[in-house]
């Protein structure tokens, strides 16, 4: 069985991505848009469009009631949430079900379980996944201190409900602990209105490794290899690739097996990503969190495996069994993705949106571009600054990176006030540490520091 119609509860490139998968399956699509996107709506975003609210996301793309009402109004059978916005909101997933709509994603209770990072780690620990030594749950100062001592410094103190790199502090030795502990609680209280904090080991040099899994309703679960997302700035991924240059086949198998064990234990369904930190020295890996949605970087996995992940999401949600078994998944070559953001790397990556007077994507062999942009689009300041993803494949990593540099050089984005990260990304992937493939999560800060600011009137 296939859906006849799907409402795409998102915007930008991922909305286009979902619509493409739907069209290739013959599914009618309904797009929703806010007033900020009113002039940017076009048929790549859906066969029908519904204006659901004003620019502020909480009144439009985060407005569960408006999205569900729109789905009912237009007779959608299912809702695909994309990433961000409502994609990992268990209440929204539940509300879809209550209104007879199929939510394309895991069951609400699974989303809820992984939403609480501390609880999720505890659960995955019980399931046998390696987790970072730590208190797991909230601890008072004395207990925290004791924990830190036997975990061994450096440790990180972080808000239980925190995220996005805020409300956390690294402590390098016992003397600094007490002050850091109190500061973090205070910050947590201000930021999240919840001052509970936990303590765990801090890895000074780590690689971000994640596993893509697919699970259906018939007990089938497969992994599609690992992605390396170590090139991050303030926990925002800039460049992702598959496989990982620092993870050999044997280690990749062990990490993937751990992810599948976790997925099965959690009763996972759909496409999901299990994130791990790989200690650059000890080569030990630790489960960090699981993302119950399609990821921005999913195309690198698609290019090495030939599997259309969004198509699989839609088929799984419709109750179909996976289209492949584990032995059918044979990754070939290397794929790299660069995120083109409307940000100015020379001014601390401040958003630099505006009207696009020029937009010419790269093309040619083994180059893929996912974007909602076109000449004449005005990039709005209201939402995430991602305007395009450039993905390149090669039989080996060097060829893939040479191709990426060529593709980024081809990309033309220009407009009054518009800046992009393109030039910065070319420098990043040309950096010796990245080229060698030995970079850790600290690479981007290093490149930013090394970099001489240079005026970039356009990214060309």
């Amino acid at each position: 069985m296939r859906f006849r119609s799907v409402l795409v509860a998102n915007r930008g490139e991922i909305a286009v991505r979902v619509v493409r998968a739907c069209r290739e399956l013959g599914i009618r699509t309904i797009a929703v848009y806010s007033t900020a996107d009113r002039d940017a709506v076009h048929d790549r975003l859906g066969d029908e469009q519904v204006h659901i609210g004003p620019a502020p996301a909480r009144r439009s793309y985060l407005n569960a009631a408006a999205v569900i009402e729109a789905a009912l109004q237009r007779g959608a059978e299912a809702v695909h949430p994309g990433y961000g916005f409502l994609s990992e909101d268990p209440d929204f997933a539940a509300a879809c079900a209550e209104n007879g709509l199929t939510f394309v994603g895991p069951p609400p209770e699974v989303i809820g379980r992984f939403g609480d990072k501390a609880a999720a780690r505890a659960a995955m620990g019980e399931a046998g996944l390696p987790i970072l030594p730590g208190t797991g749950t909230a601890v008072e100062e004395a207990e925290a201190r004791a924990a830190a001592d036997d975990i061994g410094y450096p440790v990180i103190i972080k808000a239980v409900v925190g995220g996005g790199g805020r409300g956390m502090e690294i402590v390098t030795g016992p003397d600094a602990f007490a002050a850091a502990y109190r500061r973090t609680r205070e910050t947590a209280r201000l930021l999240f209105g919840d001052d509970r904090v936990c303590v765990e080991r801090f890895l000074t040099a780590a690689h971000h490794i994640e596993v893509q899994v697919l699970c259906d309703d018939h007990g089938n679960a497969v992994h599609l290899g690992v992605r390396d997302c170590s090139a991050q700035r303030r926990r925002q991924k800039l460049v992702e690739e598959s496989p990982s240059p620092v993870v050999g086949p044997e280690l990749a198998e062990r990490i993937a097996a751990a992810a599948l064990r976790g997925a099965r234990a959690a009763g996972y369904r759909g496409a999901g990503t299990f994130e791990f930190l790989l200690d650059a020295e000890s080569r030990d890996f630790y489960f960090m969190e699981a993302n119950c949605r399609i990821q921005v970087e999913h195309p690198v996995t698609e290019m090495v495996t030939g599997v259309d992940l969004v198509r699989e999401q839609l088929l799984i949600a419709a109750g179909q069994p996976l289209s492949m078994r584990q032995e059918d998944v044979r990754p070939y070559g290397v794929a790299v993705e660069c995120r083109i953001n409307a940000e100015d790397p020379d001014r601390d990556f401040v958003p630099a949106p505006g009207p696009l007077t020029e937009f010419v994507p790269p093309g040619g062999p083994f180059v893929r571009v996912d974007t909602h942009a076109y000449p004449g689009l005005t990039v709005t300041p209201h939402y995430d600054p991602l305007i395009a993803k450039v993905i390149c494949w090669g039989p080996d990593r060097e060829t893939a990176l040479d191709r990426m540099d060529r593709a980024l050089a081809e990309l033309r984005v220009a407009g009054p006030g518009v800046r992009t990260t393109t030039a910065f990304l070319r420098e990043l992937i040309a950096h010796p540490l990245f080229r060698k493939g030995v970079h850790t999560t600290s690479l981007v800060d290093l490149v930013v520091a090394e970099r001489r600011p240079q005026p970039t009137w356009s990214t060309t």
Binding site: A36, H51, A66, E69, A70, Q73, P355
Partner: protein
Amino acid sequence: MNDQESPLDQLRRTAAALLELSPSPPSGLRLRSGDLSVEVDWAEPAPVAAVGRTAVSATVGATAEEPAAAPVAVRAPLLGTFYRAPAPEAPPFVALGDRVEVGQQIGIVESMKLMNPVESEVAGEVVEVLVADATAVEYDQALLMVATDRAGGGCAEVFGGGERP
């Protein structure tokens, strides 16, 4: 105004008048005569922005001649089902030709089984009803048109209402 005056002369005179609206010198100026039309650009405008500006100057031109206000739309505050009356049998909140006051309820939008009153933001006469009873409406969809007492309304309409960024 002198009837003998050629269309072009009218346009030029209008342009001159418009230029007084800004201290800075113009960067572009277009007259036409088929159906009249004046366009003035100041500074270097972003291509997109230029359109907007043109629209405005055009309206300014319009209001200059006939100060009568353009009708204003009363729009749906949220997406849902629009009802013109409090109940199936009841008479509509407002009908064509009725006068509405600011804050007066003109209908209901039902969303997720909640009834949300729709109130007019302007005072004036209902000159058009755009949406039938029990019809699905989008956010910001025009429900009915009101000929306002104040010319100010004209601008709201020019700028398309809603919360356009």
